[in-house]
Every structure is written in structure tokens, then in C-alpha cells.
């Protein structure tokens, strides 16, 4: 029976800020004694970038994936060679979360072409006949609330009507409608919902659905150029069926964790976000209004 390793950090939500001490325990549960050549804990933070096949050729995408950027790298010897008794053993550890270079730590972000991840890896080295035991666990990095840019109120009014549409092929086939509304702000705090209101003033054809689409725009730059891709994070329906006219429908969306982070622009990559208001008519006509937004931590 192999031993089972688990890495537990002190904080239940696993969220840490730069400069904080990460403390926790490595829990080893084993039915028998485990002899080992030392237990090591690695803390790594990387930005992984990938070029999309849309912008560069499929092979380039495969081979030319951009080198990851290392943010944190820390090695910790939590136990020297010895023996772990059978049963449950807890080995405590503690280290400060600090950037490797002078660069700041970016927030954790799980994206498609860009992702920023911080991992704890515990390795129990064993004699060369037995396999090393390895276990990884992610922890989350967020900006310190006091040191990052604040959200501000930048309300936007909008009116959507056939005339306001771009990209239209056959203007004649578009039903007549008018939708007005406002967004409370385009600079939003991640921890608070995205809010606003929308009023269907009138519509010739009944509406089937009103949706709110959250989109990430990831840009990867490299020597060969850069790629910019917009992909959907989530789609939230705010109006279902033929909503009544003249009544303010709330726009309300909670930003998902991990999949969003404060808008980030660096020399090699960018992470930006947009919101689309999508109105689908009963005849499956679909219109979209795009709003770029800036996300902040606080």
C-alpha cells in the first residue's frame, strides 16, 4: 500500500496575497512505515501562454508555444531523510510568498490561452527502487486590496435599435425594436456583481431570450507577432420569453472565480474582458451589443 499525501494550507479559501506567509501541513497517511530520502516542498507560480491555432498555423501553435513566465519559485526541505511511522503524520511548513524577480505577482487566472497558476508540490524522495511520492495542490493569489487599483463608477447608457447596429447585411429583415438601458459601471470590482438595467421599449417580434455574455480577450505577444482571441466565459440569461415592455429588467451577473481576474496588461500578454448583451428574437434573429469592461480587485 502506498502512502497517501495531502497538502493542507492554513486558510480555508487558499487565497494569499504577496508578502504573506503561507503555512500549512503535509499530511502523510500510510498503512506502514515509509522510509525516505527527504521530503521537499516546491512552490511554483507560472504564466502559461499558448498561441491559438487561429492566428498562427497549427504546427506553430504546437511548437512555438511561448515559454512560460516564472513568477514564484521556492524550494523547501520540510524533512530530511528518515522514516515516517505508520498512521497519520503531519509535517508543518511555512514560507513567505514572494516574487522571484522584481515583477509583481499576478492574480490566479484560468484561461484558454493564458493561465496563471500557483502550485504547491510535495515530493517524498525514496530510494531508487521505490517510486517517489508526489502530490500537488493549487493555491490562489490575489492582489492586496489596499495596493491595487480601485474600481470607479463609469456608468454607460445604451440604446439598441436597428439603426444602431453595425455589421448588418440585410437591414430590411431586421425587426423593429428599441431597447434602452444602462450599466452601472464599466470599471467593475470583481467581488461585486455586474449590474445595470435594461428596458425593452417595444419590439415588433416577440423576444425569445435576453442574455448576458461574459467574454475574455486574451492577447499573447511574442517575437513572431501576437495573437488575440475572444472566448466566452459564461452566458447568463436575464430575460426569458416575451418579456413585458417598459419594465426595467435587472442586469445582474456574478463574476466567476478563477476564470476572471483584474484586467492585466504586460509586455508579453494581456487579459481583458468584455460583456455582450445578446437579444434573441423568436425568429432566431440575434443582436449583440458589446461593452468592454475593466475589472479590478477592489
Amino acid at each position: 500500500m502506498a502512502a497517501n499525501i495531502e497538502i493542507l494550507v492554513r486558510k480555508a479559501n487558499k487565497v494569499y496575497h504577496e508578502g504573506e506567509i503561507i503555512s500549512g501541513v503535509v499530511v502523510v497517511v500510510s498503512p506502514s512505515d515509509v522510509r525516505h530520502d527527504g521530503i521537499t516542498l516546491f512552490a511554483d507560480g507560472n504564466v502559461n501562454l499558448q498561441l491559438s491555432s487561429k492566428n498562427v498555423g497549427i504546427f506553430e501553435a504546437f511548437y512555438n508555444s511561448v515559454k512560460p513566465v516564472s513568477l514564484v519559485s521556492c524550494v523547501l526541505e520540510v524533512a530530511s531523510a528518515g522514516k515516517i511511522p505508520a498512521g497519520k503524520t503531519e509535517i508543518p511548513f511555512e514560507f513567505p510568498l514572494r516574487a522571484r524577480s522584481s515583477k509583481p505577482l499576478y492574480e490566479t487566472y484560468h484561461g484558454v490561452f493564458v493561465s496563471i497558476q500557483y502550485m504547491l508540490k510535495c515530493e517524498i524522495r525514496r530510494s531508487f527502487l521505490a517510486k517517489d511520492l508526489v502530490k500537488t495542490a493549487e493555491f490562489i493569489v490575489e492582489y492586496n486590496l489596499n495596493k491595487c487599483p480601485k474600481s470607479e463608477s463609469k456608468p454607460v447608457q445604451f440604446v439598441i435599435s436597428p439603426d444602431s447596429l453595425q455589421n448588418v447585411k440585410e437591414r430590411a429583415r431586421i425587426p423593429r425594436f428599441k431597447i434602452t438601458g444602462h450599466l452601472d459601471s464599466t470599471v467593475c470590482c470583481l467581488r461585486k456583481p455586474f449590474t445595470g438595467e435594461l428596458i425593452v421599449q417595444h419590439s415588433e417580434i416577440p423576444i425569445k431570450s435576453v442574455e448576458l455574455q461574459l467574454v475574455r480577450v486574451e492577447t499573447c505577444g511574442c517575437a513572431e507577432g501576437y495573437s488575440r482571441d475572444a472566448t466566452e466565459i459564461q452566458n447568463i440569461q436575464i430575460g426569458e420569453g416575451d418579456v413585458s415592455c417598459g419594465i426595467a429588467i435587472p442586469i445582474h451577473m456574478v463574476f466567476p472565480r478563477l476564470f476572471t481576474c483584474p484586467t492585466l496588461t504586460t509586455s508579453s500578454f494581456k487579459i481583458e474582458f468584455e460583456v455582450n448583451i445578446v437579444v434573441i428574437f423568436q425568429d432566431d434573429h440575434l443582436i449583440t451589443e458589446n461593452f468592454p469592461i475593466v475589472l479590478t480587485r477592489s
Binding site: 435576453v210 440569461q237 426569458e240
Partner: protein, 984 residues
Amino acid sequence: MSKSIPFQWTPRKRDFVLERRFWRSQRDDVTDHPLRPLIGPVTESKSISRKVSSAGSSTNSSTPGTPQPRRNVTAVLADPLGAALDGTDPLSQFAKEELDPLSKIAVEEANWEQPERRKISDSFEDDVLQEWSARKAAILTRFTTSERLSIMTSFLSGGDKVVARPQAVGPPQNAVIEKVKNRLEQLDEFEEGSVKEEGDLTQGEYVARIEQLNSELKQAWNTDQRVKALKIAIQCSKLLADTNVTQFYPSKFVLITDILDIFGQLVHDRLRSKAEGNRVRGKLPVDFTPDMVPEAAKETCRNWFFKIASIRELVPRFYVEIAILRSYSFLTSSEFTQALLRLTRMIRGIGDPLVAAYARCYLCRVGLSITRDRSFIHENLYDFLAAHKQLYSRSVRAELLRQKVDLGSYLTLYTPALDWILQLAAHPGTEQQLLDVLTICKNLNVKSGLVLNSVMVGFKAVYIAARATHFVDLITACDDDGFPQYILFRTLGLCVVAAEPPREQHHTLLNVVWKVVSRLSDVGHYAACAEVWIEFAAKYFGKNEVNAILHDMIRHLTPNRAYEQHYPQLQSVVSILLRNTQDPEILFGMDKFLTFIDMFQKEVVKVEVCKLIMEAYCRQKQDAVRDPVVINGVMFLCRVLHDSVNAMTVDDEKRQIAQLICGFLKSVDFGRDFEQQLGFYVDARAAFTNLDYVHLQLVQSVNRLAVETRKIVGGHHTRKTASFVRACAAYCFISVPSISSVIFRLQLYLLSGQVALSNQCLGQADACFKAALNLIPDFPKTIEVDGKPKSSDFFLATYLSNFMSTLLIVPDPPEQGVLYLTRGLLNCIQTRQWDAAFSKTNLYLQVLCLLAASAQESYPYHIEKVDSNDALYGSDPKFIAEVNRLCGVVVEEIFSQLRAFDDTSNHAKQASLSLELLNRLVSFADLSQPSSFKYAGKLWDLCHRHGKQDSKVVERTVWYLQQRAALPGGEKCKDLLARIHQAS
């Protein structure tokens, strides 16, 4: 027992007047009520009563003002109860201990309740939530469909159509990668098995599917597949976005919200146990605050809400969030109001008004249980009213057209949800709230019958009734939006019945409303309204108005036998009328009432209605009835009841009906017009031939009549009264045979005979008695007592004893021999097969008493104006000899029984019988006759022969002899005593 000397009975001469005076017990004057000291001093006795414990001074002497002599008396009599209890009765003893136990409990409870008070005082919520469960059942039965339904889910087996479902990828909720991975695997599992649509389901199958989902959810949860459980909850709530087959929607809502409630509860419990597991101080209190919750549990809770916030579709996101809304309490204690308001606004995005209305209903229900702030309810109401036009929007109309549902019935689908919301909005029920709602409606220009109806249902009837005419205006001003107007009038009717509108509005109200109601063309609608409004008339108006309405109802319901469809309503009209009239006489005073009853053509219903009326009649009727119209009317109803009795009717039913009829018979009283009264009884007998109990009552009533007559004439009958009482006696004599029960017949014969005798109708009395004697051989061996068959001996023995006391004063009929009836009686006793031999001999002993009394010069009692045998024969020696001969025969019978006991060695019975006989001898026979004296001695010996005698009876016998010996003429008793002493 030797037979050497034949026994010769000679009766002792007795002077009953003297004896009565002698044997009467001593009487003393008293000044105090004998029971008073027991209940008297309760509290004053506290201090000393405990110390004094000797029986002598037990009843406490501390009562101030108790007369001195009484203390002596109590000391001697040593009240046993008082002695046992230290002089105070048990109740006051309890009372002494500071407080009585009940109030002690009450005080404790009050103390205990204090901290909980906040919760208990909030019982409105509990009541309302209780009520919801009642409503659920009502909704499920009311909203049903025969249409085919379809269900979309990935969790059920069966179905063949596979639809690929686009799925929003939610964020993995937890940073613990292992866990997330595990859950994602689960997720994938379901993703792979894609959604299937099952169509063409009947309602029953559909409900079964939902049930299956429910158990599936619980099972998933219990096997730690929380993601699966969540997905089931989401899929369930997705069903609520679908209004295909609208008629079923309310029921669907009930079924699915039940599942969601369970889901919410599971999540809450899970979070709670998680919070408690990580907590140092163990269990969380009921009203915990977020800072008592450990961080880990909060994180889990947050994950739940993040997960739900990412649900793609609006309706499921809304429902699932509401379902777990209660778990917000782990995160924050203040955000409920905000969350509820946010969710309320979210509903605005739901286009289908029906879905939106029920979403509001669910929101209000859940919101009610988690916060005390009521603002969201008003917000919901306001939003509903603001979006009210949506109910008549093009898409709704198109949908209705597609489903072939008319607008009226579509609108009634809203009533459960709207009633519920309005009822909550009406809490705590101030008048101002009603005015506010009405103002909102006015401002928003909502003139919908649907809303108005729910307003009337939701708010207190008092407020509605207070402005009843205003509501009538509102009702008539309503848009013709398809909501049936008759329902509005019906609801208004219910309000004004529950609470009285201003007096000056009564007339206008009834006139205006009835004008509309009587114009309703649909009989069903008409009946529904009339049923309510007749109560209004019955409550606040006189019989003329009610009669007019009845007339109108008859007019509406008679064509095409429409009444056949509306028996329940008609029945309820009858019970309403009964409820609202103190005197049922008034009902019969209305000329349309009986015509109305005539509309009940179906036998079963008719009988039921008659029963209903008769029950009310018997309950409420206190004074006598003599109005022939009323009597005729009630008679008619009774006849219906009576005619419903047939061979198949169960006994209980018969008894019930008979009781009702008897109640009526008893209530009829023509005062001093006795002949009319008798005539009525004759009619009644003719009308109710099938019911024993009724005959019984009739015979009793007629006997009563005869006795009343006697009372009035003071025993001196005139020619007219004499013939009347004879008629009564004849009535009884003829009526009795039609009763089937022998027991009743016997009793009634005896009673009628006694009454006839007291009215000097000798012939009739004789006939009755003779009939009774003839009946005795038919007397059943067993009778039923408490459902078990028992020997009838006991009953018959009692009856015959009673009979004998009557026989003493019945004069012998001239055409028959001496003591004709008594001899008949003896024959009866002799020929009957008695269960126990001693009941026969016991009766012989009684006969002995009777005979001994008959031989006296003057009988102990008489009936005024009736010459008994004492006067008739004047102690004629021939008569006396005949009596004595009979006595001899009887005694001989008893002797033979004594011998029989000897043979069977039944010594105890022999002893007691011989002692009994000895007692009779001593009391009634002349001891100076040597044979009597000798036999008395022998009996004493016999009684003691085996030592089985009852010593107490022996003692009493000796005591009696001693008393007798002290009296004049007691020499023989003295001799007998001497003989006895010698023997023992």
C-alpha cells in the same frame, strides 16, 4: 324435611298505618348542612391542621363562628375522610404548597418561554406555512389535466429521443484540485448521457416521473454525489419554465417546489453539519450568527452560491437560488432583504406571466420563512400589478389559442399564486394596507377581476364588507378580461357573510347584486352565487327576502331539471338557512321552503336533507309547536324520513330517524285541546308504521295525555273526560301489539294498564294486564345487553315484581273467579323455563308477599276512586280461604325447591332460601298457629344445618324478631326467639 304435618297458611293481621309509624326511622332536626364541614375551611386551616393528627379532633376546629355543639358531633362521628387527611381535603392540601401544580407549571413555562418568546410570537409565519401545505393539496386536486405531457431530463431511464444540450461550463467550484477533479468527472458522466425528452405522458406518469426525480435526488445526495443532486434540482426547476399544458402548471409547481424545498433543506443541513464539525464549541444554536460559522463551512457555502450564480438559464437559476436561500445565514445575517429584492427584480425578466406569478409565489413563501422584513412581498405585488398587461399579451393569446384554452380558465390558474401573495401582503391586516393596494391598482389602471378577486380573498372580510358597495362598483367596472364575474360576486358574498357591511348598505347591496346574479345565464354560476348570497339575506334580512330568493332559485333551477346537477349547492343552501334561523318554525312559514325541498328528487339526497332539517329542528326547538302549517311541513319531512326506512336499513340509521321523529312528536303541543292532540297522535301512528321507537313514543305520549287529563279533572271524570281517557286507553291497547320488541310491549302494557286503572277504566286495565300475562310465555330467553346476550331472567323477575305490586290493587273482574290475574301470573311463573331455579322461588316468595297483603282487611295503598279487592270482598272468609289455599300451594312449591337443594347438596342456597322463607313467615304468617310456628322453627334449623347461612342476614332476622317481640302481640315472636336460642 318431613311432610308429617301439611302446612297451613294463616295470614297475620296487620295494621299498615301503625306499622309504618313504628318502623319509620328516627328523625332529628339539624341546624347545619351535613356536608358543609367537609368543604368548609380550606385555607384558614393551614397552620394547625398539620400538627393535629389524632382522629378525634380531625375535622379542624379553627373555623371561626362554627357553633360549639357541632364540634362534639364531629368528634364522635370522626369523619373518616377528614381523619385520613389531617383535617384538610386533598385539594386544599395541594393548594397549601405555595401554588397549585397547574399554576406552578404555568409559571415555569412562562419563565422558560421568555427567551423563546421572540420565536413563538411569530406564529403567523408558522400558520401561513402550515396553510401552504393545506393549499398544496387543494391545488393538486384542482389543477389536473388529461392532456399529454412531456418531460426533459437526463436522469431517467426510458425515452428514445436524444437531444444534445448546450451546457454552460461552470467554474470548478473548489480549489482543492482532487475534489474538483472528482466532481468534474461526475459532471462529465452526466454530460455524456445527454438529455432525453419523454413525451406523451399522462398526468399520472408525469407525476410518477417527478417523484422518481425526487428520490433520485435524495439518493444522489446520500451517496455524496452533490453535483448530480444539484443538476437534478436544476433540471426540475427548468420544467417550471415550460407552460405547455397550462392547466397542469399549478400542480407541477407544487410538485417541483417540493423537490426544491428538499434540496434546499439538504444543502442547509449539510452546511450546518459541516459548520458544526469544524467548530470547537459543538452544535450551532438555532439562531446562529455568521461569525459562529467556521471559515471552511463559509467557503463551501460560497461555492454553492457561486455555482448557482453561473446557471445559464434564468428560471432554474432563480428557483435553485431561492431553494438554498436560507443557507445565506451562514455567510451573512443582513443580506436577506437585499437578496430577496434582487430576486424579486429578477422575476421581471421572466416573460411568461404565469411562470412569473408562480415564481413570485415561491419567492414569497421561502422569503417568509427566513426574514421578518416584508418589503419584498409588496415589491412582488407591485411588480405583478405593473406587469399585469402581460397577461393579455400577444404571446399569451397565441399560446392559449394553440392549447385551446379559454382566457377565463387560464386566468383562474393564477388564483392560487395571487391569493397567496395577497394574503401575505395583507398581513398584519390593517385597513390602510387594503387602501394602499386599491390605490396602486387604480394608479396602475389595473381593472382586473383576477386581482380584485384575490384582494377580496386576501384581506380581512371586515374591511371588504365595510366598503361593500364600493367593491360592487369595482366589480362592475372590471374589464371584461375573461375572468368570470360570478366568481367575483361569490367572493364578495363570502366577505359580507363573514363580516357585516354597514347597515345602510344592506338593501342596495342585495338589490344590486341579486339583479346581476339573477341574470346569470349559466345555472352552475347562478347556483354558486346564490348559495353564498342567500346566507347574506338570511343573516341580515327577514323571511320575506329569503323567501323571494328561494323563489328565484326555484325558478332558475327547475327548467330542464337543472337542480339535479347542483345538489351539493342546494344542500348547502338548506344548511345555511338552518344555521341562520333561530326558530325553524320561520322556515316552514315561508311558502317556498317546502317547494325548494321538493327539488331534491334523488332519494338519498332528499333523505339527507330531511335529516339535516330535522336535526336542526330537534336541536333548536324549545317551545311547543301548534301551528298546523308548521306541523304539516315537518310531518311531510318526517314522512320522507320514515319512508326511507326499508328492510335494508341498518339499526343505527333506524334509531337515528326514529329519534328525529320522536323529537318532532314531543315538540307538538296543542295545549288544552287534548282531543286535537290525540287526533294528532292517531295521524302520527298512521304515518309512521315502521318504527318501533316511534310507536313507543306515541304510546307514552298518549298515556301522558291520559294522566294530564286526570290531573286536570282532579280524579273526578265527567262523562266527556271519561270517554276521552277510555279512548286513550284504547289507543294504547291497540298500538302496543304493532311493536315488535316483546320487552317494550310488556312494559307498555303494564304502564298503559296502570294509567287506565288510575283513570278508573277497569275493563281496559284488565285487558292490558291480561295481554301482558299472555305475552310472558313469548318472552325471549336471552336479551342483548351491551352487545352480549344475557339471560332475561333478571329482567323478567323485576318486571313481574312490579307487576305484582300493581295486581294487589286491581279489583277482580266480576265475570272471572277470585284473584283471576294473580292465578294467571302464578301459572306464568310455573310454566316458564327459568334459567336459574332460584329466580323462580324468589318470585314465589314475592307472590307470598302479594297474597299475604291481599288477605288484609285494608291494603297498604289504593287508587283513588278504584275499589280494590279489600273493599270488594270485605275480607269475606271464602275469599280469605282461597287466598290461604294459594299461599299453601306456593309455600309447598318453595318446600319442594328446598328439598331439591338438599338433593343436589346446594347447601348455601338452601340456607339462604330457608332464611328468606322464615322471614316471610315471621312477617306475614300468624305464628300463633302451631303449624306456622313449628315450620318457622324447622326452617331455622334447616338454615343452620350446614353452617352455610349468611350471618348478617341471620343477625338482622333475630334483631327483627326482638323488635317484634317488644311490640304488643309479640308473644309468639318471643317464643320463637326462645326456640331459636334453644336450638343454637
